[in-house]
């Protein structure tokens, strides 16, 4: 059988394909989407990009909660007179075809009047008429064509917040004022005593003054606020000399034009603010489609199905769940609260909490923790705790989650600024005292000139531009940082701690080993044939791994949820499933792995065992890291893997097993009190505490836009082996910032010469200030790009 790719979703498949209109599809779902789009004249979808689609999920029941008007009302952005607007987050948006088909969504559903994609945020804004169709219908249609929206609890709680655009306004105002003041001040730069210039210069000066007003009092207000806050907590941050510089510039210029002693420095003032804001804007780049602040609310569903009486079902918001309620949790729905299993034998997938793909069997009466997903069928549960009191959610009540990491960290610019401010103030004082004896009229002039020219514009720009650029370079390599201060923190760490499952091991790939009596040909082919029928995750992965055998027709097939499969073909009978299903004891040594047992004609044959596979390049990464860092692996599992890990990792790596989420947090806290600066690399929610406690928490994710706990950085799992390069690059950027500090100090020295000797003319300030800023920006941008090349 040759390998083909699906025309719709691009997946490789080897099994029987569905041929439709000369095109091949991997499954019926993909074919349906194709014909649906084609019927509505939307087949251009496939011209824009090859195989742009996603395999649609066939579980429309997941959106049951949209029947509840209270939930719908919370989700709607606008709801008036039958017109409703909703903003949905759709993780699958990834190419121009997606934008095209979603913006033509109105052709698929009569209720929709318009739809707009925001590609950066991966969101779709739909305007629709409620009398022609409900939100539920629209959402279900979206997921039918492979664009399943992710609706989570934090959408429900979210207040309709306004987007903060103040930085753009400020930048616009500063740029506007800068340009106009430059025009107005140009005639006076040449200081020619021409008749009409003398006559009109007052008009020009006062116009400049009015242009400068919004710059000082609106565009620059953040610097004053930050400087004030810094001084109040006795810190000389970089904004103190900036605020001082701005106020002196403004006051001196105003006095200059009032008493006609000069034309003032309004040009330098507005230029300074403009460049500073530009740096801030550049640094501000965040990945709008990623969220670094997630707590359990980003993962929890909005509504659940509550059972009232015997058969009556009702959708209720998760917040309204009371102790003692009976809930119906469907296949693949998330269990939002701690509860007790009433009905149905369940295999619970806790991968969301622990990062492990191993399923846990539960039987009636067992307690279930929030965060699991039942696979294989619906279950009925009785609620033991409300959402806020559940085991998983209580983790977020701890202090670490409310602590601002940046507040405990002094950035390199602020450390520098302390010495800088003191130096500038002492130079100003000495120069003023000197001039008091020589020419007391010049003293005030010199004092203000020193403060003006020493205003650390270039100094303040060095770090934002270097780190901002580095942030982009990292982002291109699929390492997404929350903000620029993470780069600085990354350069200062001395301990690296890894989680094991899901971080060092890959949850996607697993190795299978068969132990027991060899299977004969007819058993093998029956095994393959029966696995083909099953949708259980273990059956699927085993089916993929087994070599292709003749597919035979089955005479009998039965899948018992939570137990296994029973199949018969002619004389051959096979039981595939858990240990107690085939009637053997679970062997001790493989208890921690997942095993599939085989029984043929009432005789026990053996079992397939699934092992987690370690990611590629881990051994190499640890060997690179061991030179400079203390290493440790914290695992929530038992010590079964200890020998494997010891072989793989350098000898000095500490291995700690049986760690609860709380233990991991404490482990890091203890080492921090001993002076360690910790980089924690983890993946699941069980690492959330550790990630928050560490100096830098990096979440490893297979799909960056779907799952990751709160952290400082999100890293695509495929680039974990480059971790060492990322850390060395962060160190190199710190060095680069130091070099640009030196460059900007050189400019300051030149400026100080003019200031101290009392020759600072406005034109010199107007040249020096932008020149120093631009050369620092050019230097850091080129420098960081050269450094970034090393990554490839």
């Amino acid at each position: 059988m040759s390998k083909k790719t699906c025309f719709h979703c691009g997946l490789d498949f080897t099994t029987a394909a569905i041929n439709f209109e000369e095109k091949t599809f991997c499954c019926n779902g993909c074919k349906t989407v194709y014909s649906l789009l084609k019927d509505h004249d939307l087949s251009c979808y496939y011209d824009l990009q090859d195989a742009p689609g996603a395999q649609p999920k066939t579980n429309p029941e997941l959106f049951h909660f949209l029947d509840n008007p209270k939930i719908v009302e919370q989700l709607l952005e606008f709801n008036d007179d039958g017109v409703q607007i909703v903003n949905l987050y759709i993780p699958h948006i990834h190419c121009s075809s997606c934008i095209w088909v979603l913006e033509n969504f109105k052709k698929l559903h009569p209720a929709v009047s318009s739809s707009t994609v925001n590609f950066g945020k991966k969101s779709l804004r739909i305007t629709f008429h409620s009398e022609k169709g409900s939100l539920k219908e629209i959402v279900e249609l979206l997921s039918r064509i492979g664009y399943e929206p992710l609706i989570r609890l934090d959408d429900y709680d979210k207040k309709k917040k306004n987007i903060d655009r103040s930085i753009i306004y400020k930048l616009g105002i500063a740029g506007f004022a800068f340009g106009n003041i430059m025009f107005l001040s140009f005639p006076e730069y040449f200081q020619v005593g021409e008749y009409w210039l003398e006559q009109y210069k007052f008009l020009f000066r006062w116009l400049m003054f009015f242009f400068a007003l919004p710059v000082v009092f609106y565009a620059a207000n953040d610097y004053f606020i930050s400087a004030f806050k810094g001084l109040r907590s006795r810190i000389l941050n970089i904004d103190v000399p900036i605020a001082l510089g701005i106020s002196v510039l403004f006051l001196r210029s105003t006095f200059d034009i009032i008493f006609n002693t000069g034309s003032g420095f309004f040009d330098s003032l507005s230029g300074l603010v403009f460049f500073l804001l530009l740096g801030k804007f550049f640094q501000q780049k965040t990945y709008s489609f990623l969220s670094f602040e997630r707590d359990y609310k980003s993962y929890f569903p909005i509504g659940v199905t509550k059972l009232i009486g015997k058969d009556k079902e009702e959708s209720i918001p998760v917040h309204d769940i009371q102790k003692g309620d009976i809930l119906l949790i469907r296949h693949e729905e998330l269990i939002p609260v701690d509860c007790r299993l009433l009905k149905g034998k369940a295999k619970i997938d806790y991968s969301f909490v622990t990062g492990e793909s191993k399923l846990i069997s539960k039987k009636t009466g067992d307690q279930l923790f929030a965060g699991g997903k039942p696979l294989g069928g619906s279950i009925e549960v009785k609620v033991l705790n409300t959402v806020a009191q559940s085991y998983l959610t209580q983790l977020w009540d701890q202090d670490v989650f409310n602590r601002d990491k940046t507040s405990t960290f002094t950035s390199i610019t602020n450390r520098m600024s302390k010495y800088f401010t003191l130096a500038v103030l002492s130079i100003a004082t000495i120069a003023t005292t000197f001039w008091l004896f020589i020419d007391s009229g010049m003293a005030l002039n010199v004092f203000t000139a020193v403060l003006i020219i020493a205003c650390p514009c270039a100094l303040a720009l060095a770090a934002p531009f270097t780190f901002g650029n580095m942030l982009r370079i990292f982002g291109k390599q699929k390492f997404y940082l929350k903000n620029t201060s993470v780069i600085e923190q990354l350069a200062h760490i001395n301990t690296v701690i890894f989680d094991k499952t899901g971080t060092l091991t890959s949850p996607k790939e697993s190795q299978v080993k068969y132990e027991g009596m060899p299977l004969n040909a007819s058993e093998k082919s029956l095994l393959k044939s029966s696995l083909r029928q099953s949708n259980h995750p273990l059956s699927r992965s085993l089916y993929q791994i087994l070599k292709s055998n003749n597919i035979m027709t089955l005479d009998a097939y039965e899948e018992i949820t939570g137990k296994g499969i029973q199949a018969r073909s002619k004389e051959q009978q096979l039981k595939i499933g858990s240990a107690d299903f085939v009637g053997v004891k679970q062997p001790e040594k493989i208890a921690m792995n997942t095993a599939v047992h085989i029984q043929s004609n009432e005789q026990y044959k053996g079992h397939f065992t699934f092992y987690n596979k370690y990611r590629k390049g881990m051994s190499k990464l640890f060997n690179l890291l061991k030179k400079d860092y203390d290493l440790a692996v914290l695992s929530g599992d038992n010590a079964g893997e200890e020998n494997n890990l010891k072989k793989l990792l350098p000898a000095k790596t500490k291995l700690v097993f049986n760690q609860s989420p709380q233990d991991k947090l404490q482990y890091i806290k203890y080492h921090q009190s001993e002076g360690a600066r910790v980089l924690m690399v983890g993946d699941g929610l069980n690492d959330a505490g550790a990630l928050a406690q560490s100096n830098v928490g990096v979440a490893i994710s297979e799909h960056v836009n779907v799952f990751s706990p709160a952290c400082d950085a999100i890293m695509d799992a495929s680039v974990l082996q480059k971790l060492y390069d990322f850390i060395s690059l962060s160190k190199a950027s710190i060095r680069l910032v130091k070099w640009s500090f030196l460059l900007s100090l050189l400019y300051n020295l030149v400026g100080l010469y003019f200031a101290v000797t009392g020759q600072l003319a406005p034109v010199i300030a107007a040249i020096l200030m932008p020149l120093s800023s631009i050369s620092v920006v050019v230097f850091t941008t080129i420098g960081s790009n050269i450094l970034g090349k090393k990554l490839n």
Binding site: D41, S43, C44, D47, L48, S96, I99, W100, E103, T116, V117, N118, F119, G120, K121, I163, R165, I168, Y169, G172, I173, F176, G179, N180, F183, W196, Q199, Y200, L203, L207
Partner: protein
Amino acid sequence: MSVIYILLSISIVVALIFFAAFILAVKKGQYDDNYTPSVRMLFEDELVKKSTSEKSKTKKVKQH
């Protein structure tokens, strides 16, 4: 020379108009998403192209 007053006020008025346009654009959210519009502007043609290619396809079918 008092023509300078007229020239100055014109230049400032023009500058203010552009400034107001900028503020309005920001307020309307034109700077919130700076990627999607660049893709969207290419789509108008696609719809036309599709319908013509569709026609040519049906013609071919008829010929057979």
